[in-house]
């Protein structure tokens, strides 16, 4: 069988979208991937996307795993989380419940990745519907500080901050991969992946 030579950049950053069902994980992903907003809601099972992006002058690949908010089986969710290098934990600012759920997601990710410094952003989506806001900025920021992560508010509809959250996370991942702890954590979780020696070529912010 002939191998198709896929000339791909060596650096791949694996991003995982987590959050309750219907908060706009897929909408954010699709806006980032294709610059389009999908109005109709269809629950995701688990989709993965890959895109070449230029991050601070360096071409890298972003691999996005858009998970199901409704996934019922913890064991299966663990397996998704294990494959990630950075997490976008999304909630809807007009839904307090989805904000509360981020606590569980955070805990689960930390348990699976076993590192507090894992690249992670708390994302409050749907700011275009600010009039229906249930979660205040202060509330969300307080939680983010508690976790020592950044909080960003986005709108998948208006594309506000969409690129920012992905690029911010990519930078975090790039940085994280350079730290000994990050290298250890990632190689532990992805024993079969080729070693990320090229990671050092990342430009620091």
């Amino acid at each position: 069988m002939s191998k198709t030579k896929a000339q791909q950049p060596a650096v791949i950053h694996k991003v995982i979208m987590v959050g309750s069902g219907g908060v706009g994980k897929s909408a954010l992903t699709l806006q980032f991937m294709y610059d389009e907003f999908v109005e109709d809601y269809e629950p995701t099972k688990a989709d993965s996307y890959r895109k070449k992006v230029v991050l601070d002058g360096e071409e890298v690949q972003i691999d996005i795993l858009d998970t199901a908010g409704q996934e019922d089986y913890a064991a299966i969710r663990d397996n998704y989380f294990r494959s990630g290098e950075g997490f976008l934990c999304v909630f809807s600012i007009r839904e307090q419940e989805s904000f509360q759920a981020t606590q569980d997601f955070r805990e689960q990710i930390l348990r699976v990745k076993n590192d507090e410094n894992i690249p992670f952003l708390l994302v409050g989506n749907m700011v275009d519907l600010a009039d229906q806001r249930q979660v205040s900025v202060e509330e969300a920021t307080r939680r983010a500080q508690e976790w020592k992560v950044n909080y960003v508010e986005t709108s998948a509809k208006t594309r506000a901050n969409v690129d920012k959250v992905f690029y911010d996370l990519l930078r975090l991942i790039g940085k994280y991969k350079l730290t000994p702890a990050g290298r250890k954590a990632l190689s532990q979780n992805a024993a079969n992946l080729p070693s990320e020696t090229t990671g050092c070529s990342c430009v620091l912010m």
Partner: protein, 687 residues
């Protein structure tokens, strides 16, 4: 002239109208003459016809017989043909299963859903044929194939193609097998890994880059990416995975136990063969160590490689001996092989064949209505021997005996009941007991040393005996036959039964138990009849000596009675008178008859009963004599009555005593007491 007429009439161009016209012209005499001639001709023809019929009669019979034989053979032939046809369809299924599975893979899930579960189950057996090292997968009970298909494995990082795989989605797990290039035979894949669906994370890879139709399987610490040929196939895979996962989750609780057991098993296998991990270096799927070729050296012999096919062929040809030889050979060979998963797998393949072989042999012994039973026990011996060699002696024994039961039943049904009970029973006993002894002999030959089976035979014999007895009872005891007939029949059965003892099979006690109640009832019934008879005759008894009018007639009668065993000569007086009444002679006759029958039935269990009933009948008669002696009406006849009682109590009793002694049975006390009655009666007179 008649000949001439015959010739004219039998002419092919004979024209009746012309002939009649000519005749009618000759007048009345000629017509009458012609009429006589035609009569004569008619008779002659009839006679000739009859003669011809007789001449050909034997040929007719022979032809008819040939035809019936031919008919039977045709039946058998058609049966054999249909047998062969089923055999062929079985073979077709055998060779088509793999193809069908491939079709299923490409046609997808829709077809899969409609196909019955058992078919998918059968497919698991074919996995053994196609995938090397998957015996542990197939072993798990209740596992079914849900979906399968060819996939290309991609590198998760670079998305470059690694190799071709064939994935099998089972109802509880996903099995991946890698394709082995340059491999002849049906084994085209090697087991790579088995993933339980519980924690299996499936990711739909969107067609964003150059790679289309991909999906990922995440199973910590591994992740794999696969590519299908078409978008539709990918959709089917994702749906099937989703669906199966859901279904599995529904019955997760029960499954969980089984799953952990399986994981343990595989872990054990991995631990048992630590050397294998080297060979799987290219393979990062370390949780499940794939089977290696370590014992391959032992399994690589040509004859071993071809063995499964050879076995299939032998089974198809019904060459059971050859197949069993082969199985024994391979088992011998396998015992020296080192233990390992490859051996286990090979063993599983062989065992699959052995099961088929066993089924074939069992169906050989199966009793089917169309199959001829004429083959007799020897025909079954072949199949039985092979089954024993395969270690299935219990099944062989059961089937063999069932077969024999059918033969016995058939033989008994062949017997025609033709009026005479004794005759029929004679045939019945002959057929039954000779079949029983045939079976016993055959059994000893067929199952030498399998003592465990012998008890099964004994139980079988007892059951057959019961069946036999139910027929016997219906014919003998329930047919209102006389005691004499019954006694004869019982004696016949007992004698036949006795003969079985010569081959070491004693069922006599069973027969005795079975017969006991019926005989007892019959004896008592007859006793009641006799007592009733005594009472009835007593009412009419006028105590008159017999008058035969002439000496010749008298002599004739004396001779007649003497033939029955009584000498009544001393009682003859006045040439033609006999001092014994008709009643006494009749009683003597019936009591001796009864005694004879009873003694035929004699055995130690019945000894008391026999003595009792004889005494009871006797007592009834004695009572009659006693009342007659006391009665005023017969005052004048007292000496005659005394003579009669002396005849009955001494002469007739002596006869019964001699019957007893001829059987070497001591004369019972009860009858001796009856005998003593005579003196009592005498005393009664003298008072």
């Amino acid at each position: 002239m008649a000949d001439g007429l015959g010739r004219i009439l039998s002419k092919p161009v004979f024209e009746p109208e012309q002939f009649i016209a000519k005749l009618s012209g000759d007048g009345e005499d000629a017509l009458l003459d012609m009429k006589a001639k035609i009569h004569m001709l008619n008779d002659e023809t009839a006679q000739a016809l009859k003669k011809n019929v007789y001449k050909n009669y034997s040929q007719f019979i022979e032809t008819a017989r040939e035809i019936s034989i031919l008919e039977g053979e045709m039946y058998q032939l058609s049966h054999m043909l249909s047998d062969q046809k089923t055999e062929m369809t079985k073979m077709m299924e055998l060779s088509l299963v793999s193809d069908r599975a491939m079709v299923q893979g490409s046609k997808g899930e829709d077809e899969d859903k409609t196909s019955p579960e058992e078919e998918t189950r059968r497919n698991l057996a074919f996995l053994l044929e196609k995938v090397e090292g998957c015996s542990s997968v197939v072993d798990a009970p209740g596992r079914q194939l849900v979906h399968d298909g060819d996939l290309v494995e991609l590198d998760t990082e670079t998305h470059s193609q690694i190799h071709r795989v064939h994935a099998f989605l089972l109802n509880d797990s996903l099995m991946i097998a890698t394709w082995i290039p340059q491999r002849r035979g049906p084994m085209r894949y090697r087991f790579q890994g088995l993933y339980e669906l519980d924690g299996l994370a499936v990711v739909n890879v969107r067609d964003t880059g150059p790679v289309k139709n991909g999906f990922k399987i995440l199973m910590f610490p591994e992740s794999h990416m696969y590519q299908t040929d078409t978008a539709k196939a990918k959709r089917q895979w994702l749906d099937a995975l989703e669906d199966t996962k859901k279904k599995k989750a529904v019955k997760d609780k029960q499954k969980k136990e089984a799953a952990t057991r399986l994981a343990e098993q595989q872990l054990m296998a991995a631990l048992a063969s630590p050397g294998e991990s080297d060979l799987s270096k290219s393979n990062s799927w370390s949780t499940y160590v794939p089977c290696t070729l370590l014992p391959a050296y032992f399994l690589s012999a040509d004859w071993l490689q071809e063995l499964p096919e050879d076995l299939d062929m032998y089974i198809a040809q019904r060459n059971f001996e050859g197949a069993v030889d082969l199985v024994e050979k391979v088992y011998d060979h396998l015992t020296v092989c080192p233990k390992g998963p490859a051996l286990k797998e090979f063993r599983a393949r062989i065992e699959h064949r052995v099961k088929q072989l066993t089924d074939g042999l069992m169906s050989e012994l199966q009793v089917s209505p169309e199959r001829s039973l004429r083959g007799g026990p020897r025909a079954a011996r072949r199949a039985v021997t092979q089954l024993i060699r395969l270690g299935k002696s219990a099944q062989a024994c059961e089937l063999f005996l069932r077969n024999r039961s059918a033969i016995i039943k058939y033989n008994i049904r062949q017997l025609k009941f033709e009026g005479a009970t004794t005759l029929y029973i004679r045939c019945l006993c002959m057929v039954f007991f000779s079949s029983l002894s045939d079976t016993a002999k055959e059994f000893i030959k067929a199952f030498p040393g399998h003592f465990g089976c012998y008890s099964a035979f004994v139980i079988w014999a007892k059951q057959e005996l019961q069946t036999f007895f139910s027929i016997f009872r219906r014919q003998v005891f329930e047919s209102k036959a006389s005691l004499t007939t019954i006694a004869d029949c019982v004696v016949l059965a007992r004698n036949q039964c006795q003969e079985l003892g010569s081959i070491g099979l004693d069922v006599k006690f069973c027969l005795t138990i079975l017969l006991e109640n019926s005989i007892q009832n019959m004896i008592e019934e007859t006793r009641d009849q006799l007592i009733d008879g005594v009472k009835y005759r007593a009412n009419d008894d006028l105590w008159r000596p017999m008058n035969h009018l002439s000496q010749t007639d008298c002599d004739k009668y004396v001779a007649e009675v003497a033939a029955l065993g009584f000498d009544i000569k001393p009682y003859v007086y006045d040439k033609c008178f006999i001092a014994i009444t008709m009643n006494s002679v009749q009683f003597a006759k019936s009591i001796v008859n009864y005694a004879e029958d009873l003694l035929k039935l004699f055995n130690s269990e019945l000894e008391d009963t026999i003595a009792e009933v004889l005494a009871a009948v006797y007592k009834a008669q004695v009572l009659h004599i006693e009342t007659s002696l006391k009665s005023e009406q017969f005052k004048k006849e007292q000496s005659l009555i005394l003579k009669n009682s002396q005849f009955l109590l001494e002469v007739v009793m002596a006869k019964i005593e001699s019957l007893y002694s001829s059987m070497n049975v001591p004369f019972p006390v009860k009858l001796q007491q009856v005998n003593a009655h005579f003196r009592k009666l005498k005393a009664l007179i003298n008072k």
